[in-house]
């Protein structure tokens, strides 16, 4: 399947409908995303690819309910998020959405230990967390009481995905999770994403990293803020 413009999938956890995002700049309005419509399937890794400035991070923030679109609609399941008030959007972010930011340190609280970071993430969604088991699952056994600064960049990003898991979110949105990492560290993140892909949690990743694009089950390509291509691995 290869469609541009409106893309429908069988089951979608998130869906963008004619999403348009403008920013005001000193030089006048600038369009970051123009009339993009696509759905994020409820399984596997969906990669939002494109060059720098193509609008993928903006699209990710809009889908993660961190930013309002100028026009268009974002659906979470059957819910039109545009009709929600801010407290209801917050509730969705708290219970169902997990965002992993580009910079590893932006995803963690440096004054908390590794284990406390997992617990804090779980608490934010009103859950408990078996941090020891989760750290073993992430390949970080025994780091429970470490300071997060004792971890490498890749380990920190792994821990960030661990926080997303600890929150029990319905979908994980990651913004260029490997861009700040060297190859070895990026490998750790890719391993984690593979694990997540094998699980039941759908992941949306914005990236221009070829290895990550290759890892994806679904691929949405953006150019100059427009969706130019959407493919699924088994669809061609």
């Amino acid at each position: 399947m290869a469609e541009t413009g409106t893309v429908m999938a069988a089951k979608e956890v998130l869906r963008a409908d004619a999403v348009h995002v403008d920013y005001r700049t000193p030089a006048g309005p600038a369009t970051a995303v123009a009339d993009v419509s696509f759905g994020v399937p409820d399984s596997g890794v969906t990669v939002l690819a494109g060059r720098s400035g193509s609008g993928k991070s903006t699209m990710l923030r809009v889908l993660g309910l961190l930013e309002w679109p100028s026009t268009g609609t974002v659906w979470y399941g059957d819910t039109d998020t545009g009709s929600l008030r801010e407290p209801q959007r917050r509730e969705l972010r708290r219970a169902d959405l997990a965002v992993v930011f580009q910079n590893p340190s932006d995803n963690l609280l440096e004054y908390l230990s590794v284990g406390d970071n997992l617990r804090a993430a779980a608490q934010s969604a009103g859950r408990d967390c078996a941090s020891v088991e989760l750290l073993e699952q992430l390949g970080l056994p025994g780091s429970q009481d470490w300071r997060v600064t004792a971890l490498s960049g890749g380990q920190q990003q792994r821990l960030a995905f661990g926080c997303a898991l600890a929150r029990g979110s319905s979908v994980i949105l990651a913004d260029e999770p490997t861009s700040q990492l060297d190859n070895a560290s990026a490998d750790l993140v890719l391993d984690t994403l593979r694990q997540l892909a094998d699980g039941a949690i759908p992941v949306l990743v914005a990236s221009h990293d070829p290895r990550l694009i290759e890892l994806g089950d679904h691929l949405a390509r953006l150019e100059d803020g427009r969706l130019v291509d959407f493919t699924s691995a088994g669809a061609s």
Partner: protein, 863 residues
Amino acid sequence: MTGIFRNVQLPWRAAARAAFTSPVTIIVTATTALLVAFVAVAAVLHSAAAGSAAVDYQTENLCAQAVPTGVDGQDFSIQDANTVIADARAQGAKHGFDTAIAAKYSSPVVVDHQGTPAKIKFAYRDRAQDNLRVVRGGDPNGIWISETMAEDFGMRLGDQLGGAQLPPVTAIYADLSTPTSQWWCSESAYAVPNMLAGDAEYAQVAWLPSSDDYDTAMSTTDDAGLTTLSVRFPSDQMPHTTGEAQAQSERNDALITTLTNTIDSRDLETTPSLDNAFERPTEVASDAQTTVFTSILSLTVISLLVGLAGVATVTIQWCQRRQSELRLLWSRGASPTALGLRAVLELAAPLAIGTVLGAVLARVLLPWYAPARAVDLWPQVLAGLAALGTLLIAIAVAGTTTLFWVHRRFARVPARPGRLRRGWRYVPWELLSGGLAVAAWARLSAGYAAASDGPVPTVDPAALAFPLLVLLTVVLLVARIAQLLLGRSHYASWWRVPAAQLAMRRLAASRGPAIGVLLVGALAVGALATGSGIANAQSNAMLEKSNMFIGANSSVQVTADTVVDENPIPKEVAGSSTLVGEKEDGDVTILAVDPEDFPKGAWLEGRTQEEMSEVLAPLRAQRQSASDPIPAIRVGQAPSGAIELPSLPGAETVAAVESFTKIGTNPGYVISSDVLSHQERWDMTTWSIWSQDSLERLSGVLNDAQVYHFAVKDREAEFNAMPFLVIEWTFGFVTALGLVLAAVAAVALLLAVEVRRRQNALSGTFLLRMGLRQRALFGSHLLELGALATAAVLTGVGIGATGAVLSVPLLDPAPWLNPIPDLPNLTPLVLASLAGGGLVVLLAGWVAVRAVRTASIGELIRG
């Protein structure tokens, strides 16, 4: 861990610990809170201290024994007098007046002394003998007579006065004269003979050794008449605060009520008068406190707002530093309110520490900025509550600022970015404050500022705010212009002077902080200029006007017969005193002065002695004959030419001055006393000795020389300085606030430099790599920061001084008395401000360049 905390999420629970990850934030936050709390606490304490200073001023000028209730009565029989005294002692003790000093004075009686009738007064006062200076003898068991009595009536030790039941004369004491010591001040009307009162009243006092002896004297002397009594309750504990004054006044009233009831129940023929002389001073002190507080309120509020804006700025910097964490928590569903609480939990401890330090500092530094040290407990509690209030407000500001920052940064709908911020930017704040300044000027010029129909001026805070509103208006205008110029500065190209171009670009890049520093700095220097200008002007005016009012530092009146034949001024004070005759003719005042001595003894209105000698030189012109008119100097609008002076020779004006000592600008004439005949000297209304010496010294020397003098005047005591002091205290606090604002400006400048340390380091390092010399880089920082400091100092001093110049004459509480106050020389303030600003600029420049020197470019690029 309690249940409440168990439900609190970890980032909030660990917030206080998180603060330690940035010591700079802790220090800056605490410093900001310190300054805010200092201002709030100092305002309360300063007002209370002003009340205390008013109490001190009045107790110093009031007879100390008149502070507690006084009992005075005339025409009492011995029995009734003793009853009243006994009741006063008993009731006084019940009301805490432990010491009572009772006195009984007879009317003048004539006793036979070895065949010579001697008019004297018998008297007894508790411990009187301890407070008289003995000239001869000194046995406390006999009658003590004055030196004058001994000389006039030929009395000697061992002589018998009155009946044989009375003890003999055992001591001769030095005459009592005004000004008396504190112990006698309340009795001067009874114990100091008044030579001018006439023969019927004038009588020297013979002190009896005991109350019983007095009673015996009264019962054995034929025409002893009735007794005058007084009871005083002296205390070592004088009130120093308005609270203590109030308590003293209430105790006085309570004693008066009880004693009145007691005495009324005695059904005496005569009742004494019971007076609370401290009631009015207590009200005056309370008024002074209220006046100062309301007067400093406007600038205090402005300073608090500036301080709270500082808290908001510090919070915004905290938000920027914690941006990634706030975004993370936001993405996890935290509300802006919860994130505001997160800021509060981290910043509350430094804010609390700063508040406590500020409050403590304001209390400790009280003697340095307030007019008195003593402050009641209640104002201190109030100051503590004010500090607590500022802490709570600062915490609320921190939380609210974070809330809005988070909302604007993360939750805003993109269709309406920046609308609110732009809206605030376009509000014409300067027009608003300018309008208020015009309104304040209207009240000020209408004379509302310091109407002084009482001991404390009725100060209108709205009118007093005029110089501050002018300052605020112009500072806001300058900030607006600077904002516009910096916004357009990208059109300018000064690359021929790279340091200047870099400085300009840096200022333009950080317009917000730069304008903020300029605003606070100019406000600080302006407050200093206004505060110190007006406070010093009032202080100088008080000195000059009081001198003008009395004529010199001290003045005593002497009798005409003393001056008819010779100059009565003893040689000990001859070099600093002068004899002046005075006479009124309708609205015209005539002063007869000695042209030789006058410049040495009188207040010269800012003239030097030589200049005053030149002014008086025309009076030395010799008359050809006694019928020639005497030369006179015309003062003010008095008629010129040939003039008739009452009971004086005809005169002709030979010179004119606009103003002269004592006369001021009122119409008057100054003539030479040398030309007056004996009779003309007799005909002058009064003769006084004016002196630059203190009243104590002048009076002491005159006493030693046995020159009778009266109507003594001390410049400081005679002239009611309260209205001047209240305005001086008010603007003294404005000066202190100026210093605090200057500290805020300096901290803000250093903070602004420190906050952009990384940008400075990065750009500086690249510039050095590109070939810019380190000196030029340092110069660019000095130019950038120096431009801000210079603009702040010049704007502040210029506008502060202008506002003060306009206000000072209108704030004159005694416009009827010359001279009109004018602004003192502000050059030292300008130089000190420039020097202080220069030091801060050098320090900030050094901090900026140090960041470049210590930076590793690899680290900077990697971030």
